[in-house]
């Protein structure tokens, strides 16, 4: 008796004539997520995908729950459309379920769907009849059609699929269906979460990281690479751009007012990220900023930072509290890496009293003091690109 995985996708349905495109991208992403499983088959069916020919069910479930665009999956028995067999497998499935439960009485219901109208029994009849058979076989069972402990699902299609579990997946939309954005990836807790949220909406990512050797170490670079790798588990391949940023910081430090250093630095980061985005065919920038978290993230500072670029800047965490961001980081698996202490020896360029209400005209004046374009070009020319995973 063959076990298969039944995959459901949600929002794609809404997309009308684009649906085949979305389905194709999703199918592709599923295949990529399962690439390490030999001989595994992913099959497209009406409004569903099936994964067949695997042995390690747990590993397949883990891989699939990361794929954006999938709503839920169910491990199911695939059997011939023969009612005797359906009844026999139903009994076995119910027995397995009951073994895992302690309670004296367990409620259940049978829910069947008959997509193949050739099948002689209609869904109401199947529900009733199978329910009866199970009640007779297992004295612990009781019917509850509203809130049953166990829902035995019977789907009659080209085969019959029997299952009792629905495992929720990541949801969202297939990565690659909504263009590409450039993520400013710092190594902290926030930016990986921001990238994850945008990727979840189907956006492919390219990442930009600013490296200030010797003020930040190669260990902190390794940490960012690791964070990028974790993101690729659900966000698809990422090209990570390591931008040498020391010269810009030193120039700003020597020539511009101390209290403006952070805001100036951020404006240059945005400009460089925009250039990288253009090169990479990305249409937007993504940052992990959230209002008021630090001096550079006051409304005024955000506005001045934003002014440096013309591309749209997405800040999915803008209204999140730090704890919420940390919780999401834990869920997506980036938290432990983000809190490794290999950064922040960069305090040299952090002003003791940063402006919290910068005025754009003052910042623009300060930018006249350095040769910004040349510095940006130099940084762009020396980018190190790392293909992840």
């Amino acid at each position: 008796m063959e076990k298969v995985m039944l995959l459901r996708y949600g929002e794609i349905f809404l997309k009308g004539r684009n649906r085949p495109f979305f389905e194709k991208v999703l199918l592709n992403n599923i295949r990529k997520a399962l690439i390490s499983f030999e001989d595994i088959k992913v099959i497209r069916a009406q409004g569903r995908f099936f994964v067949e020919n695997y042995s390690d069910e747990l590993a397949v479930v883990q891989a699939l729950t990361l794929v954006f665009g999938l709503v839920s999956i169910s491990p199911a028995y695939k059997i011939e459309k023969d009612y005797e067999k359906i009844a026999a497998v139903s009994k076995q499935l119910m027995e397995d379920e009951l073994m895992e439960r302690q309670e004296e009485t367990i409620t259940f219901k049978v829910e069947s769907r008959r997509a193949d109208k050739q099948f002689p029994m209609d869904s109401m009849t199947i529900n009733k009849d199978l329910g009866g058979i199970l009640l007779e076989e297992f004295p612990r069972l009781k019917v509850d059609v509203h809130e049953p402990d166990i829902q035995l699902q019977v789907e009659i299609r080209e085969y019959c699929y029997l299952y009792s579990r629905i495992i929720p997946c990541a949801g969202g939309m297939p990565v690659g269906t909504n263009g590409k954005a450039a993520l400013l990836l710092s190594g902290g807790i926030d930016s990986p979460v921001a990238g994850w949220m945008i990727a979840k909406r189907g956006v492919a990512l390219t990442a930009v990281h600013y490296h200030s050797f010797p003020y930040t170490s190669d260990r902190s670079k390794e940490k960012v690479i690791e964070l990028g790798k974790i993101l690729t588990r659900c966000c698809g391949p990422i090209r990570l751009h390591i931008v040498p940023f020391t010269r810009i910081q030193q120039e700003l430090y020597e020539k511009c007012p101390d209290e403006q250093l952070t805001i100036l630095m951020r404006r240059y980061m945005m400009r460089i990220a925009e250039e990288v985005a253009l090169r990479e065919g990305a249409a937007a920038l993504v940052t992990g900023e959230s209002i008021g978290q630090v001096a550079s993230q006051t409304l005024e500072s955000l506005a001045v930072t934003n002014d440096a670029v013309s591309m749209p800047v997405f800040r999915p965490l803008i209204g999140f509290d730090k704890v919420d961001i940390m919780n999401t980081a834990e869920t997506i698996g980036t938290y432990e890496t983000s809190i490794l202490p290999y950064e922040d020896c960069c305090t040299v360029f952090t002003p003791r009293h940063p402006v919290t209400k910068p005025r754009l005209e003052n910042i623009l004046k300060s930018e006249q003091l350095i040769n910004g374009e040349e510095l940006i070009q130099e940084a762009l020319d020396n980018i190190e690109v790392i293909q992840l995973p």
């Binding site: 050797f213 010797p214 003020y215 170490s217 030193q250 202490p341 020896c345 040299v348 952090t350 003791r352």
Partner: protein, 385 residues
Amino acid sequence: MNEIYLDYAATTPLVPEVLEAVIDCLKNDFGNPSSMHSLGIRAEKRIREAAIQAANLLGALPEEIFFTSGGTEANNLAVLGTAYDKKRRGMHCITSSIEHPSVIQAFSHLESQGYDVTYLPVDAKGAISLDDLKSALNDDTILVSIMHVNNEIGSIQAIQEIGTLIKSKKVKPVFHVDAIQSFGKLPIRPELWGIDLLSLSGHKIHAPKGIGALYIKKGVCLQPILFGGNQQGGLRSGTENITGIVGLGKAAQWIAERYKSEPDYLPKLKDKLVRGIQQAFPNAHINGSLKNSAPHILNVAFPGLRGEILLHGLEEEGVYISTGSACSSRNRKHSHVLSGLGLNDQLLEGSIRISLSYLTTEEEIDAFLPILIRTVERLERYIRR
């Protein structure tokens, strides 16, 4: 770019002689020394040979050498093994505030089990005072553990005087010396200095990682901290790491020869280094003292600079040094050793450790000094305002 490695107190590469011995052992002597057959006997002989090589350097007997998985285990065995064994005689131990974590943490484990531990402070030179030790000793004291050379600042403790003082007591505590940094670089005579236990590590003297040893003076009792097949007289169960042991023995022999043929080699190099730094940077601060310090470790602070940034700046030029000790640079706290000297925050943050070995050449120091000067000057332009 020619790389210059000046972080030998963190770890050392194998010298060719040791590498050869290790490879030969890996290839030809895989026997288990506990086996009854000839392969076992051959392995046992190689271990004996290594024990002789290590013992020679200490003027000790080969049967006084017990091999461990490294310095940490040797220190743990010395501290815990003694404390457990002498529990009924007393529960007071004495150590210094600048010991290696493998000693300090072993003692804090003992504290959690009801032992009483005195941590002797050090002066600005990084030395404990004999008077402090004298007043800390009481009839309940079962163990005194003092390191010979400190791994971060290189300060030398007066081990011989300390040993004499301890052994003048009526009830004699066990004296343990962590000699991991000094072994092969300074003379040590356990027998003459009143030392009962002495820890060694292989990878600080050009042997592989994963091997160390504890000298246990004949007649001194310890309780084991590992249990199993009762190898090494039941004191250290576990099949002997014969490859590591052979490497350690060979390295001990090699370093002894180097020391004997040119005892001034390291002091001269260090002197050159210090003079070069002091000439270029009159305000550079030598942590600890120059007089009373190991010939291969120099800890120096450049006020205003952060050690970590200087480290990476030098790395850019192909030079490898360290801030504090490599073992502790993972946790962000200030080094307990440097804080123990009473340094202010600026010096604490600005400190780097430069450490030498017999592989270091005069030419390397000549090449290093201008790089250091260039890097410090480059980074000094950007000091936090």
